[in-house]
Symmetry: C3
Subunit: 350 residues, 3 copies
């Protein structure tokens, strides 16, 4: 009965949100459009969380988390490609920044806080924590080097540096997958805890995960569309909208799934979604976008603004510090959220 | 007998120091004034150390350390309020910087070195170490963000950013107390080691702790008064005097108590005093001063100079690195002191 | 039989490289000179690795590693003194930078990668890892402070700051040796694993270690001589040649020995060689060169360029992050190498 109601809400709100997006701008106000799209996203995100959990039931916390992160980022990748085609490099970089810090601070912070309010202390694989910390440092270094050296380089040299660094990062990320999913798989997983049965069969779980991700992709874009009107109305800067508003909505997939996992004491999966997703953006999506931009005639460089680098660096350091002991408490969630809010206010004012 | 001699020395030197301060400048030289005040401070600090230890006997190492740090910072808060009333924001910020790095490097360094010369290795609660490390990072981030963004902001926006960040930090600090003293108290304490009886009763211990703190407050101010003549004579900069000379004297409470605790193998209490005190300054006293300054008509911002931020950042990173394994040795005390001396020389020369 | 062939190759290639260096420039091209010198270095480095291993057999992994690092750096010290005599301070600093990052990233990275391809996980003394991490931070801080404060200082004050910081660092390094070799020796060593007999007697091992180091010193210089022609031909910058090409060759001693130790699962010795060597350069060799430069009339300061400081800082942070858990895997070697390559490309383009 309960599941039936959820299905109706999901399909109904999603359909309505789509109708409003493609046809509705003329006869209803932007506030109503926003509310409809937001309700749809909440339903869709709930669906995605369920699907992730079900896949994790079969494949383990880490793989489930990885699949969630990957499908979640696939949507972002597609949207970014369209932006690159239009030459909107600054918007792409702002949204990359937003995806990284949104996952490391907001998604992780909410998961740790809400999980920690239910369980006194939540633990996860400490070796994975160590590797994640080193990868976060690599991400910061790789995005920092081009910006640090760019003032001594011609713009052509900056492009060359960006392309080569991008190639290296993609190789490093693929080797990381090989390491963590093949050669050292067993060292990096949490002990499997079985809680009852999975709601769906194995095949259906994967299908639902893909379907939910696609729905989140569309739903996010529709919601982002309504945000544009908002941000113009309130005079928000492109940087703030790109790095915070869009990122919060665009990470809906990670939010819902990570929090659901944390509340079920599967903090390992929540970490994999939050940290894993931001690492994937920094070490794979961003470099891939640089390479793809070459196909459209004008190559995007990897030079982020000082403020973006500060945000990424600060997020990585606090997330590394909090996750490195393989245990989390509610207060560590507070710390992550505090840093996110402080950054948000600073970006809002700039 | 021995205690009798101490009491006479304490009362006598303290009284003499007060007389010299309020009446003596006319007939004796500044060097004699300095020596008298310094002797008084040594006696008073010894008294405070004893009182802290006695309170810790009843309340545990952490709470004893926290009370010591809080009473010690109360004096600093009062002095700072007078400076803010006079609009001397730069002096206030220099002394905040000095209190933070003085505690993290000098107090902690001396405690670890002198404790480590007596005991091969001293251990303390490793979970507390992890949380302290994350809080240190938060302190660095929170003081760094306003300075980093200020060049793109109007001075009004900088004030707004400072006020909002201050409110957030105070909430974060109060939540930290709630976390560490209430919800997760038991996870963060060291096992209690009983060494004989306490010298005083519970009530008397607390009374003496308060009395000693007040005496340290007065004694420090009198000593600082004699320092002024010194610094003019030797042409020392305001930054150096504020961040080093005054801080060394002003932290007399923390110094004596922390070292006494370390020498009794209660390094956990020493850490709580040193790190706890600097975190309290960064996350509570400094933000509170920003808010209080609003009452006096002109609001102080949270923008520290580059040199102050370097000092705070460097101190936090080395203190975090050294404390994070929950064990200390004499050489780690050397490392902290080396960084303090290097910073001191750089500040002296600037 | 096999050992006989090695001895012939060693003596022959070394002699040929020397002949080419002192007489050969006229009748053979620079490429042939380079190949001959490179073959000689490979033989000599192999000899040195064997000698280190044999000494480590008698003296333990740490002392063996320390001796290897010290003899390796002795050669660098001698070469640098000649450069200082000629006033080539920038070249000296570039080669100091190169030695630090070459050891922390390339030598350590190759050792960890090649060791990790043979053994699933290699462990070493976790307390040593913690201390090494703190010392790396000290090195970064000590080289960073003079550069950060120099813009507010006269050049005389900068020299004074450099000299005082140098004295402090040397004292700190000597205290470190006292701590790690005397007072806390037992806490920082790895359990000794005996694998068969040592190839040589105790005295012969030490003699061969010294002899091999001298040969590496000469061989490196001859190889560096052939590099000069190369770099002119390809238009490479002095910074790139000094910080990368010369450092790679000049660290031949550390390379061969560390990799050989890692492949024998003695990762503790490899770490000691790589990290120990770079710490020795930062905390002892560089300060000593500042002091020695005073004998030649013009004092070298400790002010490194921004790019050099970025390279050193980045190297220290990633090496600290990877080594702090006392365990290494092949992927951590990849991470170190990735950072080295990214830095190399940036330096090449600048």
């Amino acid at each position: 009965m309960k599941r039936h109601g959820f299905t109706i809400g999901l399909v109904g709100s999603f359909a309505l949100s789509g109708i409003v997006h493609y046809a509705g701008a003329a006869f209803i106000g932007s506030t109503v459009q926003f509310i409809i799209s937001a309700i749809a996203i909440i339903f869709v995100a709930g669906f995605l969380g369920k699907a992730t959990e079900s896949v994790a039931h079969y494949a383990g916390e880490r793989v489930g988390g990885f699949l969630n992160a990957t499908f979640g980022n696939a949507a972002e990748l597609i949207i970014s490609i369209f932006l690159i085609k239009d030459g909107l490099f600054d918007v792409v970089k702002a949204s990359i920044t937003g995806a990284i810090i949104g996952n490391m601070l907001l998604v992780l912070g909410l998961s740790v806080l809400l999980g920690g309010m239910k369980y006194r202390e939540q633990t996860f694989n400490v070796k994975l924590a160590g590797h994640n910390g080193s990868l976060m440092l690599l991400a910061v270094i790789a995005l920092f080097i081009p910006a640090a050296f760019t003032r001594s380089l011609t713009s052509n040299e900056t492009i060359n540096l960006s392309v080569v660094v991008s190639l290296i990062l993609i190789v490093a990320y693929l080797l990381w997958l090989f390491f963590s999913m093949v050669t050292h798989k067993d060292d990096l997983t949490d002990p499997v805890v079985e809680h009852g049965e999975a709601p769906w069969s194995k095949g259906r779980s994967v299908f639902y995960l893909i379907l939910a991700t696609v729905m989140v992709g569309f739903g996010s874009e529709w919601l982002v569309g309504t945000l544009d009107a908002f941000s113009h109305q309130f005079g928000l800067s492109e940087l703030f909208v790109g790095a915070f508003l869009i990122a919060i909505v665009g990470n809906a997939a990670e939010h819902s799934a990570a929090i659901i996992m944390a509340r079920k004491n599967k903090i390992g999966a929540a970490i994999e979604i939050a940290i894993g997703s931001s690492l994937q953006v920094a070490l794979f999506v961003a470099p891939l976008l640089v390479l793809l931009s070459m196909l459209f005639g004008k190559t995007m460089d990897l030079v982020f603004t000082t403020y973006e680098l500060i945000a990424i660096g600060v997020a990585a350091f606090i997330a590394k510090s909090i996750s490195q002991d393989g245990a989390t408490t509610w207060y560590e969630g507070v710390l992550l959220l505090v840093v996110y809010v402080v950054l948000g206010i600073a970006f809002y004012l700039v």
